[in-house]
């Protein structure tokens, strides 16, 4: 039986991966984008965001076709939509890892890669937050 772990997914990597494959990720949109790469494993992610009034109105991604990475990116995009920038910056790799069951520890670095792309997309906002403290 599949049990929902949050509002964004049912905890199944397979379902997130299949959703990622069904979606078209080629569209150019948004006013923020960030890229992160893992040279060792030849993986990369580009996160695109449409930010309006300090809220992520839309989020999409384009990633290397690794099942684990695509699943984490799909979940991250779902978590980002409608979320204030301040909250989006608070999402950590462990938040993705905890929501998707069955991923062995050797694949957890894919979550960190997705978060690194998010950080790159929101680098300006993160700097503003740091400067205002």
């Amino acid at each position: 039986m599949t049990t929902a772990c949050c509002d964004h997914c049912d905890g199944s990597l397979q379902n997130l991966f299949e959703a990622a494959l069904r979606r078209s990720h080629g569209r150019e949109f948004g006013n923020r984008s960030g890229r992160a790469a893992d040279q060792t494993n030849r993986l990369q992610v580009v996160i695109r965001l449409e930010v309006m009034d300090n809220v992520v109105a839309e989020a999409d991604y384009k990633a290397t076709t690794c099942a684990t990475l695509l699943a984490y990116c799909e979940l991250l995009a779902r978590m980002l939509r409608g979320r204030p920038i301040a909250e989006a910056l608070g999402i950590r790799a462990v938040d993705l890892i905890q929501r998707v069951r069955g991923v062995p520890p050797t694949r957890h670095s894919r979550a960190a890669l997705a978060i690194a792309a998010l950080r790159a997309a929101l680098a300006d906002e993160e700097a503003k937050g740091s400067n205002s403290k």
Partner: protein, 112 residues
């Protein structure tokens, strides 16, 4: 000669060709080729799930002979066993397999 096996077809593949031929021959040091890696697709991945008796023997001989054991990651996720494999058995796709075999490449890749 160094070989790598890819267990692609399901059915009688791992219980018969691996379990009754390749594995006993490796255990008896008379297989005739140096096996550097084995990659498992689809239902063949169940062999690498903790508790499988053939898998247990294979993991033991793989540790002794430094044989890479890897399962298709998508196949494991689909079957929800990616985190239930024997210690030392990794998951991955072709880039991971080629990278892992890069340091000790096979002369032949045999698909069963």
């Amino acid at each position: 000669m160094k070989v790598a096996y890819i267990f692609s077809t399901a059915g009688h593949t791992v219980s018969y060709k691996l379990g009754r031929m390749i594995l006993p021959q490796l255990e008896e040091d008379r297989h005739g080729a140096e096996v550097v890696g084995m990659f498992f697709f689809e239902d063949n991945t169940y062999l690498m799930r903790k508790g499988d008796p053939i898998g247990e023997r294979l993991v033991k001989v793989a540790q002794e002979k430094n044989i890479l054991l890897m399962c298709c990651d998508q196949c494991c996720y689909e079957r929800e066993i990616a985190d239930k494999l024997f210690d030392g058995v990794s998951i991955g796709c072709f880039p991971d397999l080629y990278q892992a075999l890069g340091a000790n490449p096979p002369d032949q890749v045999i698909t069963l």
